[in-house]
Amino acid sequence: MAEGIRDKVAIIGMGCTKFGELWNKSAEDLMVDAFQECLEDAGVEKKDIDAAWFGVHFEEESVGKGATSMSLALKLPFIPVTRTENFCATATEAFRGACYGVASGAYDVALALGVEKLKDTGYGGLPGGPGLMGTKSALIMPKLTAPGAFAMMATRYFSVYGLSPEEGKRMLAKVSAKSHYNGARNPKAHLRREITEDQILNAPIIAWPLGLFDCCGVSDGSAAAIITRADMAKDFRPDPINVKALQVALSPGEELMYTKWDGAHVETGYRAGVMAYEEAGIRNPREEISMAEVHDCFSITEAVTMEDLQFSPRGKVKEDIEAGRFNLDGEQPVQPDGGLKCFGHPIGASGLRMLYEMYKQLQGKAELPERQIKDPRLGLTHNMGGFPAMNIVSVAIIGL
C-alpha cells in the first residue's frame, strides 16, 4: 500500500491575481502578478526555488508551447520548469507535480503556477475547434460546446431523479445565486453582483436546460503556490498549510461507450473523491470536510459534484441546496470565493485559484471578516476537465 502524500509537503505561500476580462494584461503580466504575491507571502526569494511546474491549457491562444514562456516571464534562473496540461485540472496537475517533486526529496522548494489568457479569442465561451479531442474524434463527434456537454448531464439528472425542468432549473438557480452572493463579497472575483433566482431562471437559454447564469464566466487570471517539505515549512512561516491528498481519475471510456453509466453523476469525481479520502484518512466527508471549492463550470456540475464527493447522498443534493448547507454561513460552505461562477475559468489557473481560497480560509485570512469561514480544518478542491461522458477529475485536500 502506497503511503500517499499526506502531511509530507506544505504550502508556504500563494498568490492569485484578480480574475476578469483583463484587456490590458498579457499572460506574462498575469504570471508576474501572481508570482510576486506568492513570493511575498512565502517570504522567499526567487533563488530559493529549486524547480517549477507550469499549467496552461489553451497554449495556442496565448503563450505557445512548452514552459519557456514562464521561465522567460519570471526570469527563472536556469531551473527545471515543466509544463502540465490535463484539461481543467491543468493547474492542479502543476501543483501535484511540485508536491511530488518536493515529496520525492529531489527538491526542497518548488513553485506551481497556472495561467490562462482566454480573452484574446474574439468571442465568448471557451475556444472551440475540432482538434480538442483529437483527429479521429473531430471526424465523428458532434460539434459540442462546454455548455451543451454539461446541459446533457442536467437533462439526464432531471430524468433520472424525476425532476421537471422547472424543478430542476429552480434547484440549479439556487446554486448560482449562492455563488454570486459569495463572489459579490470577493474583491478578486470577476463577476461581483448578486443575482436573484428569478433573474437566473429568466435568463436566455445557452444550451437547454442551462441558461446564462448556469454557466461560469470566461476570464483571464493566474495563481501560484510555493511548496516545501512539511518538516521545513515552519522555518518559513508559522501557519503553513499541509497537503493531505492529491488524486486524479480519468475516464476509461465506459461512460461514453458502455451503457452502464447513468449520466447523472460523474464517475471520475466519485472515484477521485474516494481515493483522496483514503489518502487523507477521511471517513465521513460530509462531516469532516470543512469547506470546498469545486468545479462549478456549470450549476449542474456543482450539484452533481456534491453527490460525487459524498457531501450529499445520491439524488438528494436538492434537499441540501434548499437547506442552505453549502452557503457561506452553512454547515459546509462551497465556493466561498464565488467559484468558477464568479471567477470565470481561466483553465490553467483555476485549480490553484481554488487552493488559494482554501489556503487563505484555513489561515483565517479571507480578506473581509464577512467572508471568513469559522475554524475550518480541511478544505477540498475539485476540478473536472473534459465532458461528463469523458473527463478527468482531480481532488486535492489541504488542511491544518
Binding site: 479521429k136 448531464m153 430524468s159 437559454i205 442551462l210 476509461p252 461507450m257 458502455y258
Partner: protein, 480 residues
C-alpha cells in the same frame, strides 16, 4: 433474366411552398405554378440523399451481395474524388466492387440504370445498386427555383429474386443546349423555356418512347404505367396525347409535391410506379436531358410480397414546411450569414486519417468484442466493458442500420449553426453500444430522454478553404 430486385427512395423532410419563394423574390417577375418543393436540409446534399435512398433500397439485404454502385447526379460535391465510391463506403459495401459516377445530364439517372442492367447481364457476382440523387442549386428568383426539388431514388439491379424484369430500351442523344453549367460555375444557365419545351422535352421523350415501341413491336396501351419527368405540366399531357396514351396510364410527376429532382426524377417516379404495381404490369420509363432513354419493365409475382421500403409514398407524407425563404438561403449558403467568430474556426480534414478511419466515419462501423459480446463505437482494440478488457478480440460491427434511444440531449445555442440550436446527445443502441451524435431532422421540443432514434448519413461541414465536404452519421427520430 435481369431486372429490379429492390427499390428505395428518399425525400428530405422540408417542403417549401412556391408562394414562400414568390413572396421573397417574386418582385423579380417570375410567376410560380402552384405547389411545393422538397428542400434538402443544411446538412444534406446529393451524396447524403443517395445514401439514404440506398439504405432504404437495401433494407436487410446483405451488403456483401452487392457487386457495384452507380451514382447518377448533376450536383455531385466532388469533381475529382469519386462520389460513388464515397456513397459505397457509407453504405458499407465491400471494396471488391465496381463504382462509377454518371453525371453531366439529368439523363444520367436512366443512363446509370441502363449501364447497371447491362452490367448485371454479364456479371459474375452480385447486384448493382443504382443511386440517383440531385440537390441542385438554383439562382434566387430564377424559374429553376420553383422547378427544382431535392430527392433521391435507388434501384437494385440483379439477376435473382426480381420484382420486375427488364424487357428492353431505346435511347436518343442530342447535344441539346437547354441548360448548361461550365466547370467551376455555381449556377446553371438556361435558354428560353419555350425552346426547351418545344424543341427538346416535347420531342425527345416521345421520340425515345416511340422508338422503343417500334423496336419491340408494341403499342402504348400495353403499358399500365408510363413514367417520364414532368418539366412542364401541360406539355407532359401533350406528349401522352401524341403517343396515344390515356391520361390514366401516366405516372404522377411529383412536380407539385417534390419538384423536378433532375437525375433522380425518372427513377423516383419508377419507384412510385412499382409501389402501386401488380404482377404482370408493364412499366415504361423515360428520362429527359440531352435526349432521352426509354426502358421497359414487366412486374413479376414477387412484387406482392415485397415490402418494408419507405420508398416515395411514405416519404411524401412525412414533411415539415420550411416557411422562411431566408433560412433556405442560409441552408444553401446563398447569403452570407453571421455565425460569429466561433463559426469561423477552421476545420481541416486530415485525409489520411479519414481514409484510415473511413469505416468509423463514413460507414458508422464499430466493433463487437468476441469475448463478451459488447458492441462499441468507434472500433476499439481494448474492450470497453470493465469486466472484460480483452485486447484485439474484436469483430467489425455496423451501427448505421441499428436503432437506439436518446440517453440524453441538449439544444445548444452557442455552437455555430445555420439552424440553431444545434441538437445533439448520447444514443444507446439496441443491442448495446453508446456514443454521442448530432441529431438531424428534429425540433428541440419533440426530443425526449428515451425517444427512439435511427441513424442518418449527413454532410457535417463544407471546408471551402480546402474544398472538403465532410460527412458522418447523425441520429434522428425513428420514422414511423
Amino acid at each position: 433474366m435481369v431486372g429490379i430486385a429492390s427499390y428505395g427512395a428518399y425525400i428530405p423532410r422540408y417542403r417549401m411552398n412556391h408562394n414562400t419563394i414568390f413572396s421573397a423574390v417574386g418582385f423579380l417577375g417570375t410567376f410560380p405554378p402552384p405547389g411545393e418543393n422538397a428542400i434538402a436540409s443544411h446538412d444534406e446534399d446529393a451524396l447524403s440523399m443517395a445514401v439514404a435512398a440506398g439504405v432504404d433500397c437495401l433494407g436487410s439485404i446483405e451488403r456483401q451481395t452487392i457487386g457495384g454502385l452507380y451514382l447518377a447526379t448533376t450536383s455531385q460535391p466532388y469533381m475529382v474524388r469519386q462520389n460513388s465510391a464515397l456513397v459505397a463506403t457509407a453504405l458499407d459495401l465491400q471494396p471488391g466492387i465496381r463504382t462509377a459516377d454518371f453525371t453531366g445530364s439529368t439523363k444520367s439517372g436512366t443512363g446509370a440504370l441502363l449501364a447497371a442492367l447491362d452490367a448485371a447481364r454479364g456479371a459474375t457476382s452480385g447486384g448493382v445498386l443504382v443511386c440517383a440523387s440531385d440537390c441542385r442549386l438554383s439562382k434566387p428568383g430564377s424559374p429553376q427555383e420553383y422547378l427544382y426539388g431535392d430527392g433521391a431514388a435507388a434501384i437494385l439491379v440483379g439477376v435473382d429474386d426480381l420484382i420486375a424484369t427488364y424487357e428492353g430500351s431505346y435511347s436518343v442523344s442530342y447535344d441539346f443546349p437547354d441548360r448548361w453549367r461550365a466547370s467551376g460555375e455555381k449556377f446553371e444557365h438556361a435558354w428560353e423555356d419555350r425552346f426547351i419545351r418545344d424543341s427538346g422535352y416535347g420531342q425527345f421523350v416521345a421520340e425515345a418512347i416511340s422508338g422503343l415501341l417500334k423496336r419491340y413491336n408494341m403499342s402504348i396501351d400495353e403499358f399500365s404505367k408510363i413514367v417520364y419527368p414532368g418539366l412542364y405540366a401541360r406539355e407532359h399531357g401533350t406528349i401522352a396525347k401524341r403517343l396515344g396514351a390515356d391520361p390514366s396510364q401516366l405516372q404522377d410527376t411529383l412536380l407539385n409535391t417534390v419538384g423536378d429532382t433532375g437525375a433522380a426524377s425518372p427513377l423516383m417516379m419508377l419507384v412510385a410506379a412499382l409501389e402501386e404495381s401488380r404482377p404482370g404490369d408493364r412499366i415504361m420509363v423515360a428520362g429527359f436531358g440531352n435526349g432521352s432513354d426509354a426502358l421497359f419493365f414487366r412486374v413479376t409475382d414477387r412484387i406482392d410480397g415485397f415490402a418494408g421500403r419507405r420508398a416515395v409514398r411514405q416519404h411524401l407524407s412525412a414533411k415539415k414546411e420550411l416557411s422562411s425563404y431566408e433560412k433556405y438561403l442560409a441552408f444553401r449558403n446563398l447569403a452570407p450569414m453571421d455565425l460569429g467568430m466561433r463559426g469561423e474556426i477552421g476545420v481541416r480534414t486530415p485525409m489520411s486519417a479519414l481514409f484510415r478511419d473511413r469505416k468509423a466515419v463514413l460507414a458508422l462501423c464499430g466493433s463487437r468484442c468476441r469475448e463478451c459480446g459488447t458492441p462499441q463505437y468507434p472500433y476499439q482494440r481494448v474492450c470497453v466493458n470493465p469486466d472484460c478488457g480483452a485486447i484485439d478480440r474484436m469483430e467489425e460491427y455496423r451501427f448505421s442500420d441499428r436503432h437506439g434511444v436518446v440517453f440524453t440531449y441538449t439544444g445548444d445555442h452557442l455552437a455555430a449553426s445555420v439552424d440553431p440550436p444545434s441538437i445533439y446527445g448520447l444514443v444507446d443502441f439496441d443491442g448495446g453500444g453508446r456514443f454521442w451524435f448530432d441529431f438531424a431532422d428534429c425540433d428541440l421540443d419533440s426530443v425526449r430522454v428515451g425517444m427512439p432514434v435511427e441513424m442518418t448519413f449527413r454532410r457535417r461541414y463544407v471546408d471551402e478553404s480546402s474544398g472538403v465536404h465532410g460527412y458522418s452519421w447523425k441520429a434522428m427520430p425513428l420514422r414511423a
